[in-house]
Amino acid sequence: MRNITENPDYPGYLLKCNESLHLDSGKFINEFQIAYQTYGKLNEQKDNAILICHALTGDQFPAEESPITKKNGWWDLMVGPDRPIDTNKYFVICSNVLGGCVGTTGPNDINPETSKIYGMDFPTITIRDMVKVQKILIDELKIKKLLSVIGGSMGAMQVLQWAATYPDSVKSIISIAGSLKHSAQNIAFDEAGRQSIMLDPSWHNGHYIEKNEKPENGLSVARMIAHITYLSEKAFQNKFGRNLQEKKDLSFGFGIDFQVESYLRYQGRAFVDRFDANSYLYMTRAMDYFDVSEEIHLNQEKIINNEIRFLVLSFTSDWLFPTRESKEIVSLLNSIGSNVSFAEVVSDRGHDSFLLDEPQFFRVSEGFLKGIKK
């Protein structure tokens, strides 16, 4: 049984599914829900729907004011009226990923089997599991074919997974700052972040909610490490240089001397307020496990027959998901003979460029969407 209701906790909706979800790990989740938000209007032919896939720390609120941060949504520059993903024209859907912490079933929900919080009993999930849940949502919305599936970073992984697993259900794909598989270096960064959380005594093997605690230090350090990887050397240099934080001289101690230290600590602390540590563990693991090349090969005929159009985008200064990895996507898609376009946007702001005001990036995306025939 599936039914859609308004979301009591956040703006948007909840799709509740009273059925079991078979995961890649072989395990099941028996009852789950998907929290999502929509923008714009679905037309009668139901052929103007675009699915946005959020990145690791994103949520289902890319546009308008975010109910979580009370600031503009994380992709407000990209999604909205007269934006590149124009909600006057398109019906935009964005859902919180499986394992997330903004309404979709995740490790801090109650396990219906035990009536206790899952914690680490939550099964390990994959990017394909996340996409499987999104497909259920799209089916429930009675949309046969998405005009486009668009996402950056972990969102790009989901986007490619969509083409590989459900080639009959997508017209086009925009993969932004993504890769076919998580690199060794990226797994290494993820592991450093996870260890930081799991070594925090307040983590309590994942059962911190029952103890009324939070591994705040661990999660905040994990975010600091990750945040460094989202920028570039030049971005740090331009923004902070070696400037001191509200002082004229070095303190000869280990407090905050440099502006960059203050910034990182602030990023870490702010993150703790809006994100959950266990979700962070599960989602980074899902990224580590991601490798979509084989499935693309497996379904290549369907990808070709459906004439899916791909746009692969990268940023010059992104060293977390460098241009080379986007080119590997292009190369693979070319080798199966699919319709692929590629553009590299010049930006010195690193991986995070896809969330920032990058006019060239917007124009490329908008141009590509304009060229998609309904």
């Binding site: 159009r309 080119k327 376009s341 553009a343 590299e344 490329v364 060229g371």
Partner: protein, 197 residues
């Protein structure tokens, strides 16, 4: 329509797979797509890439000197270089790569050895006239870094083991076969159809 495009449209059969290197704003791939040819472009200029995307064309953004190697082998029936070869850093290296990714190669260029051009060079004593692509070009800032003649290109094809199927005098729309080539002295623009077989 450009006269070399007309020849190319006549040469390429339906349902072929084509890579147009230096596709600009996609005029040729757009014409080919209308003819049921599956065409993809490569273009360095981002504005032109955006223009191609807006027309629903498949285009890869990048420097042809660096990125053609990213294409998998044996992917294309035709690789096309119109008015580009003289601006490529290493024409021999590029052609060798194209040989691997496509069956046939189409190259068109302006014959740098034609009498009118050589005469102007002799009379003016300046390389500007020989290397000019646009009016603002001078010998030190031109894209035409490799001026070449019809004879030069024929020799390069031989050195690279590329077989010449036919050649065209583009302006006069005249075809040459059996190893014949347009006049090195009088032909303004030439088009070569080569194969790696």
């Amino acid at each position: 329509m450009r006269s070399d495009y007309q020849i190319i449209l006549d040469l390429i059969p339906q349902n072929s797979k084509v890579l147009d290197i230096g596709c600009s704003d996609g005029e040729l791939i757009s014409l080919l797509a209308n003819k049921q040819v599956s065409a993809q472009g490569v273009e360095l200029n981002q504005e032109k890439v955006i223009s191609c995307l807006g027309k629903g064309l498949d285009v890869i953004h990048g420097d042809i000197n660096l990125m053609v190697e990213d294409f998998p082998y044996n992917q294309f029936d035709y690789c096309i270089l119109t008015q580009t070869i003289q601006a490529v850093q290493k024409p021999d290296v590029l052609l060798n790569t194209l040989k691997k990714i496509g069956k046939n190669i189409i190259v068109s260029f302006n014959n740098s050895a034609r009498l009118s051009k050589v005469t102007r060079f002799l009379l003016s004593g300046s390389f500007d006239s020989l290397l000019k692509k646009a009016d603002s070009d001078q010998w030190y800032n031109t894209d035409y870094i490799h001026p070449c003649s019809i004879k030069d290109f024929k020799k390069l094809a031989k050195d690279l083991n590329l077989k010449i199927i036919s050649t065209f005098d583009v302006v006069n729309q005249k075809k040459f076969i059996d190893g014949k080539i347009p006049s090195n002295l009088f032909c303004k623009e030439v088009l070569f159809l080569l194969t790696n077989e």
